[in-house]
């Protein structure tokens, strides 16, 4: 349904041109959930905004690539055509539920407005539909809450309203950019449940962007791991979590404090800091922090290559080399702990 091919997004900053998204390709099929995971600065949000071209332009440019949505290239469409697709075909949910609603209008009015921009119907019908949507996203007393202002709603409730607005046009694809990061865990659990329920009910495809590997593992079927603007590993959720083949993903999974881990166990950290995107390191972007790095990694910038059916990895190590080195590092850690 959605196919992104070799997308590049550049941002012109005062310090130079930043390759925020650097040659990214992936597909999303109807009804599935794609998780995009990465740290801040990995380009995951810029990527999400690129799909609907919500990055301010300038300073953002799209010099290369295609974004095919049901066959048409979104990068070639006029602003008017894009506006039709936004909301109608593709809905978006953002991280910050506080600032994404207009504080001076009633929630109901904003929702009705959203419905009327996408569908031709009478105001009365739109209102009925709005109440239905609010019920759908689990807001109690939907009728009376239509007349409330955003500040009457808690963070979790606002996120529900935003989901309702995103659903107003019956979109086929929902892009959720860190939808639960600003929320407490118990509320996060509610919102994730809600998103799953909506997917089951309407068959909406979801692109879920998060820095939280837990959220991704709970929600996604396919996963992209991003590091400094590139996809470094891509595959099914089981590929990524159980058959990890890229040093970054492996190190990241290992460094997580885990609820199912042993109490007081020492964490195995990734050394160093995420790279500066204005002047990325030579060779592989991850090599300065990579425990597997060899001389060759300084020179060769690995491309994302298929390793197994549907499992792609950007690393010069072969599967055997990676497994052997992993074995060695893991046993070294065990000794270190003892």
């Amino acid at each position: 349904m959605l196919e992104v091919k070799n997308l590049k997004t550049q941002i012109d900053t005062s310090e130079g041109i930043v390759q925020a998204v650097d040659g990214v390709s992936f597909t999303v099929r109807a009804g599935e959930t794609l998780g995009i995971v990465g740290e801040s600065g990995s380009g995951k949000s810029v990527l999400a905004n690129s799909i609907m071209q919500l990055n301010p332009n300038p300073p953002t440019f799209y010099p290369e690539g295609e974004i095919l949505f049901e066959g048409s290239n979104l990068l070639k469409l006029s602003e008017k055509q894009l506006r039709k697709i936004r909301g109608n075909e593709i809905g978006m949910i953002f991280q910050d539920p506080m600032s994404s609603l207009n504080p001076v209008f009633k929630v109901g009015a904003q929702l009705v407005e959203a419905i009327l921009t996408h569908q031709k119907m009478s105001r009365k019908n739109a209102k009925a539909r709005a109440i239905e949507l609010l019920k759908d996203v689990g807001i109690p007393d939907a009728e009376s809450r239509m007349d409330d202002y955003p500040h009457h709603f808690s963070g979790g409730m606002r996120q529900r309203v935003l989901i309702a607005i995103a659903l107003a046009g019956n979109p086929k694809l929902l892009i959720a950019d860190e939808p639960t990061t600003a929320l407490d865990v118990t509320i996060q659990a509610q919102i994730l449940e809600l998103m799953k329920g909506i997917q089951e009910k309407y068959g909406t495809a979801i692109i879920l962007i998060s820095h939280d590997l837990g959220v991704i593992s709970q929600m996604a079927e396919k996963v992209l791991v991003m590091y400094s603007g590139r996809i470094v590993e891509k595959g099914s959720v089981n590929d990524i979590f159980y058959r990890t083949s890229m040093p970054y993903t492996w190190s990241l999974l290992r460094s997580l404090p885990r609820l199912d881990g042993v109490a007081h166990e020492r964490l195995i950290s990734i050394e160093g800091q995420p790279p500066n995107l204005v002047s990325p390191p030579k060779g592989c972007n991850f090599h300065p922090r990579c425990p597997f790095a060899t001389e060759k990694c300084l020179e060769i910038d690995p491309e994302l290559m298929p390793r197994k059916e549907g499992h792609w990895v950007a690393c010069i190590l072969t599967e055997q080399e990676f497994e052997a080195e992993k074995e060695r590092l893991e046993s070294a850690d065990r000794e270190g702990v003892l």
Partner: protein, 334 residues
């Protein structure tokens, strides 16, 4: 060994809400509403809770940024609430704080070295100041040539290291850590947690570690307390806490955290709490959690449970009339 360094007794911190033409006090936000805690020397107490549970207010009250409404705080057995200005100044050397946001907790116009050296200057420990600062920088894993850099030249993780160096500069006994890793990138969190553990061993520090993330707490705390609406719901040594959590709220929190393990995630049953956090200005009567508790009974609406030892285990206190035992847990999760 088990000597309490910090003891908090029935602490209340209420903030007035003013309103109307004459700015009369209408109501009070009961941010901290009767908290009892104690932390032993060399121990780490983790305090967990969602936003609005009062954990940050508790931290600010311990370091003396606010005077509590009532209750008592004892440091090394002495009540600190009636300390004079001078005594308070001396006490501050022993209780230091690390903040959540590495971007707003450092003065943007001061060099890293000056930031770390500022507490030393405040206590006139200026002999060999630069050497001492460089020693501290080394201790937290900063390079000596970072001395003259400004905060914006550092990454988030490095800034947090500066904040930690500042906090340990005076050789404090107690460190209050207010969400020290929650603003950091996942790949940097582990570095900072490990650093904190190393420092604790090396400098014999006692930590109060405030977080919203139970998995981070699991790696660092010896004792864990859960707060909800200004009250402690459950407090226990870490092992008993994670293996045998009894309060419905604790169980809901634990089950809400997604695991980075897709197969386990599919198998897992959750206790998804309904509803939202009530306003701390208007807490529910009886047990404050009853409005969202899946196991609440009539009794819970009117009577307030006390924080009591669970099954005679003094190390595990629960504030609930109907704590979840192992069999009940089986029933819920099956």
């Amino acid at each position: 060994m088990s000597e309490a360094l910090l003891e908090i007794r029935d602490l209340h911190m209420h903030f007035p809400i003013k309103g109307g033409v004459f700015q009369k006090t209408k109501k009070h936000v009961k941010a901290v509403n009767g908290v009892d805690l104690s932390v032993n020397k060399g121990e780490t107490l983790g305090i967990v809770g969602e936003s609005g549970c009062g954990k940050s207010t508790l931290a600010r009250t311990i370091v003396g940024l606010q005077k509590p409404t009532s209750g008592d705080i004892l440091f090394e057995g002495k009540s600190i609430l009636h300390y004079s200005h001078k005594e308070m100044h001396q006490l501050r050397r022993n209780i230091q704080m690390v903040y959540q946001d590495p971007y707003t907790s450092l003065n943007p116009r001061m060099k890293a070295g000056d930031i770390i050296g500022a507490p030393l200057k405040a206590y006139r420990m200026t002999n060999d100041l630069e050497r001492r600062v460089k020693e501290l920088m080394d201790l937290v894993g900063l390079k000596a040539d970072d001395y003259h850099k400004l905060p914006h030249q550092f990454s988030g993780g490095q800034r947090q290291r500066i904040g930690i160096a500042r906090a340990i500069a005076l050789n404090p006994k107690l460190l209050i850590l207010d969400e020290p890793v929650s603003a950091l990138d996942v790949s940097v969190q582990a570095q900072v947690i490990n650093l904190l553990e190393d420092l604790q061993k090396e400098l014999n520090l006692t930590y109060v570690f405030i977080a919203h993330d139970l998995s981070v707490i699991k790696h660092i705390a010896d004792k864990v307390g859960v707060m909800y609406l200004g009250k402690v719901m459950e407090i226990s040594d870490s092992e008993s806490f994670y293996n045998d959590a009894s309060h419905p709220y604790t169980n809901a929190l634990l089950s809400a955290i997604p695991l980075p393990d897709p197969e386990k995630e599919k198998m897992r049953k959750r206790i998804v709490l309904s509803g939202e956090l009530p306003s701390p200005a208007n807490p529910p009567t009886g047990c404050v959690f009853h409005t969202r508790c899946p196991f609440a009974q009539e009794n819970c609406k009117t009577n307030t449970p006390l924080l009591e030892a669970k099954d005679g285990n003094d190390g595990h206190l629960v504030s609930c009339f109907y704590p979840i035992n192992t069999e009940k847990k089986q029933l819920i999760l099956e």
